[in-house]
C-alpha cells in the first residue's frame, strides 16, 4: 500500500463525510451509542475502583473485623440476622486472647442524635472504641488529637469527629475544643479524623468516635452486637491472625465442631468482593448493551457504505480507468466506513464528557466518580470503533474493488 493511496483514501472519506453530514451522523448513531456505553461504563467503574482503593488504604489492608454481620453480603441475609449478637464480653474476650495481632480491641456502634446549640443532626453513627484505635489508619486525626489511654479508661466525655459531620456541625469554625451533645450528653470535641474513602463517605466520614467506656455507660451493652477490631500489623500475618481469631471466637461462642461459624471475619478485602458483584452487573449490562448497539451500528454502516458504492460506481470506473488497483478502491471504502465509525466514536466521547461534567455538577453524591473518561477507555472505544469500521466496510469495499471498469464507467 502506497502512502499516496492511503492519504487519497482518507481524503475521499473525509470529503464524503462533508458531502452528507446528516446522513453520516444518522448512519453512525449505533456506533455512537455503543461507544457511549463503553465510555460511561468505564468511567463509572474507574470511579468505583479508585474510591474502593481509597477506602482500603484508609481502613488499612491488614485490618480484620470480627462481626455478626457479613460485610460482603455473601452469607445469606436470613442466616446472618438469625445469629446471636456478639456481646461486649465476647468481643472483649477475643481481643484479650488474640496473640498474633498487633492491636486488638472491641468496638461498639450505634446511631444517635448530635446537637450543637440549636443545630441538630439525627441518626449519626457513633462508635465506642479504646484509645488504641487512634493507632489504626481509620483513627488518624488531622486536627486536634485522639483520646489518651487515661481518657479511654476513665470514659472521659471527649469525642473525635468525622470530617463531614465536623463540617456539618461547625461550618465556619474549628470544632476542636467546642462542646457538643451526643444523645443529650455533653462531650468536648478533641480532634477531627482525616478525610476518608469517598465510597463509605456517608458512614465513615460522619462517624463520631468516643471512648468505649463512655459508650457503654451512655448506650449500655444489652442486646447490642459488638465488633472486635484486629490489626495484623502486616499482610503476611493476616492469615495467622484470621485463623487464630476464628478458632478463639468459635470457642468463645461455644460452637460444636459440626456447627458453622456464627460470625464473620470481615476484611477490607470483603469490600472488594461486595464491589465485585456490582462490577459484574455493570459489566454484564454495559457489555451486552454496547454489543447490541455495535451490531446495529455495524449494520447501519454496512448499509450506508453499500449505498455509497452504488452512488460512486461511475467514480470507481473513472478511478480504475486511470489506474487505481483493487486495493486502492477497497481502501477508499474501508477508509470511508472507518472514518464514519471513528467520527461516531469521537461524537460519543464528546457527548459523554459533557454528561460526566453535568453529573458531577448536578449530583454531589457522585463525587467519588472521576470528572473525566479514563484515557484507556477512550483508547479502547476508539479501537473498537476502528475495528467496527473495518468490519462494516469489508463487504462493500470488496464489491467496489471487484467492479469491472467498463461496466462501472457505463453506470448512470
Amino acid at each position: 500500500m502506497t502512502r499516496t493511496e492511503l492519504s487519497e483514501a482518507i481524503a475521499i472519506a473525509l470529503d464524503a463525510l462533508r458531502a452528507n453530514p446528516l446522513r453520516s451522523v444518522l448512519a453512525t448513531l449505533g456506533i455512537t451509542i455503543g461507544v457511549s456505553f463503553v465510555a460511561l461504563m468505564g468511567w463509572f467503574l474507574a470511579g468505583l475502583d479508585s474510591s474502593l482503593q481509597h477506602t482500603i488504604n484508609m481502613l488499612g489492608e491488614d485490618m480484620l473485623y470480627v462481626d455478626k454481620w457479613d460485610w460482603s453480603g455473601r452469607t445469606s441475609w436470613v442466616e446472618v440476622s438469625n445469629r446471636k449478637p456478639i456481646s461486649y464480653r465476647q468481643a472483649q474476650e477475643l481481643a484479650d486472647a488474640v496473640r498474633t495481632a498487633q492491636y486488638a480491641m472491641p468496638m461498639g456502634q450505634t446511631r444517635a442524635q448530635l446537637s450543637v446549640g440549636s443545630r441538630k443532626a439525627e441518626s449519626i453513627p457513633v462508635a465506642g472504641v479504646p484509645h488504641d484505635y487512634g493507632n489504626t489508619p481509620a483513627g488518624a486525626v488531622t486536627r486536634g488529637r485522639f483520646f489518651t489511654e487515661m481518657e479511654g479508661r476513665s470514659g472521659a466525655p471527649v469525642a473525635v469527629l468525622g470530617p463531614v459531620i465536623a463540617k456539618q456541625l461547625f461550618p465556619d469554625e474549628d470544632p476542636v475544643g467546642k462542646e457538643i451533645r451526643i444523645a443529650g450528653q455533653r462531650f468536648t470535641v478533641i480532634g477531627v479524623v482525616r478525610q476518608r474513602g469517598t465510597l463509605l463517605s456517608d458512614f465513615a466520614d460522619r462517624l463520631v468516635l468516643i471512648p468505649l467506656e463512655r459508650f457503654l455507660r451512655l448506650f449500655g451493652s444489652g442486646q447490642r452486637s459488638f465488633i472486635t477490631v484486629l490489626k495484623a500489623g502486616s499482610l503476611e500475618r493476616l492469615d495467622d491472625v484470621r485463623e487464630e481469631a476464628r478458632l478463639l471466637m468459635r470457642k468463645i461462642r461455644r460452637l460444636r465442631p459440626e456447627q458453622p461459624d456464627d460470625f464473620t471475619i470481615n476484611e477490607t478485602r470483603s469490600l472488594e468482593q461486595s464491589i465485585a458483584v456490582l462490577r459484574q452487573s455493570v459489566w454484564g449490562v454495559g457489555l451486552s448493551m454496547s454489543a447490541l448497539s455495535f451490531l446495529v451500528g455495524i449494520i447501519g454502516i454496512v448499509n450506508i457504505t453499500f449505498v455509497s458504492v452504488v452512488e460512486r460506481t461511475q467514480e470507481i470506473g473513472i478511478r480504475k480507468a486511470v489506474g487505481a488497483r483493487r486495493r486502492a478502491i477497497a481502501l477508499q471504502f474501508l477508509a470511508e466506513s472507518v472514518v464514519l465509525c471513528t467520527a461516531g466514536a469521537v461524537l460519543a466521547l464528546l457527548f459523554c464528557t459533557g454528561l460526566v461534567l453535568l453529573v458531577r455538577l448536578l449530583i454531589p453524591a457522585a463525587e467519588f466518580l472521576t470528572p473525566y473518561i479514563p484515557p484507556q477507555h477512550i483508547a479502547v472505544a476508539l479501537l473498537v470503533a476502528f475495528t467496527a469500521g473495518i468490519l462494516a466496510g469489508w463487504a462493500p469495499a470488496l464489491r467496489a474493488a471487484r467492479l469491472h471498469p467498463v461496466e462501472a464507467l457505463r453506470y448512470e
Partner: protein, 240 residues
C-alpha cells in the same frame, strides 16, 4: 521500430442470458508509434469493444494483444490497472471527471495511483493544464467549466502520465461544433508533438483529422486506409 500495438485475431464474446454476442470476430491490427488513427463504425459495430480492449479496460476472449511488445491479453485486473496507469490516457465522450474535485485534482488522479509525491503531482498537473490552455482554471470544479473546457481537463488528465497511447472515445460527441473543432485541433497538436492517438468515432468530419482510418462493421475490419486528405492545422479556426 517495434510496433506500439499488435492485435492478432482478437475476438470478444459476451454472454448475456444464455445468448452469445460476438462483438469482435477476429481483429488483426498493427499500430506504429506516433500514428494518428481513427476507428470508425456505426453503433453496434464493435468499435467500443475494440477501444476497451486497446485501452486495457477489458481482455479479449481469444487472440493476442501486444502493447509495446508485451502480451497483455491474459493479465489480471491489477496488472491491467498498472498498464492503464503508465501507458494509456483516456478521453471519454462524457468527460468522466470527478464532479467534486477541482480541475487540478482531477488531473492529479492518475499520478496518485502512480505513487507520485504530492508536490510533484501538483506541479505536473498544473503544467498539463497549462499545456491544454487551462492555466487559469486550475481550481475550478467541472460544473464551473464549459463542455470544451471539461474535455480539455480530461485531455490534461490523459497527458499527465506521458502515456504511450492516447485513446479518445467520441471526444466531441457532447460538444458544440466550435468546441469540438478546438478539441480536434488540440489532438492534432498533440500528435504533432509525437503522441500516438487513436480516435473512436462515427462522425466523418472528426475522422478527417486522423491520418489513418480503420472502418469496423459487424466485429470485423472492413477497411484500413490512409486518410487521403487530412485536415491541416492551418485550415482550423485559431484557438481563442
Amino acid at each position: 521500430m517495434q510496433p506500439l500495438i499488435v492485435l492478432e485475431n482478437v475476438t470478444k464474446v459476451y454472454r448475456t442470458e444464455g445468448e452469445e454476442v460476438h462483438a469482435l470476430r477476429g481483429i488483426s491490427l498493427v499500430v506504429q508509434p506516433n500514428e494518428y488513427v481513427a476507428i470508425m463504425g456505426p453503433s453496434g459495430s464493435g468499435k467500443s469493444t475494440l477501444m476497451h480492449i486497446l485501452g486495457c479496460l477489458d481482455t479479449p476472449t481469444s487472440g493476442r494483444y501486444l502493447l509495446n511488445g508485451r502480451d497483455v491479453s491474459q493479465l489480471d485486473d491489477d496488472e491491467l490497472a498498472y498498464i492503464r496507469n503508465r501507458q494509456i490516457g483516456f478521453v471519454f465522450q462524457t468527460f468522466n471527471l470527478l464532479p467534486r474535485a477541482t480541475a487540478l485534482k482531477n488531473v492529479e488522479l492518475p499520478l496518485i495511483y502512480a505513487g507520485v509525491p504530492a508536490a510533484e503531482r501538483r506541479e505536473r498537473a498544473r503544467r498539463a493544464l497549462e499545456a491544454v490552455g487551462l492555466g487559469d482554471r486550475l481550481h475550478h470544479r467541472p460544473n464551473e467549466l464549459s463542455g470544451g473546457q471539461r474535455q480539455r481537463v480530461a485531455i490534461a488528465r490523459a497527458l499527465v502520465v506521458n502515456p504511450a497511447l492516447i485513446l479518445a472515445d467520441e471526444p466531441t460527441g457532447n460538444l458544440d461544433s466550435a468546441s469540438g473543432a478546438e478539441i480536434m485541433r488540440l489532438f492534432t497538436q498533440l500528435w504533432q508533438l509525437g503522441n500516438t492517438i487513436i480516435l473512436v468515432t462515427h462522425e466523418d468530419y472528426i475522422a478527417r483529422y486522423a491520418r489513418r482510418i480503420i472502418r469496423i462493421r459487424d466485429g470485423r475490419i472492413e477497411s484500413d486506409t490512409p486518410n487521403p486528405e487530412p485536415v491541416h492545422l492551418e485550415q482550423l479556426p485559431s484557438m481563442p
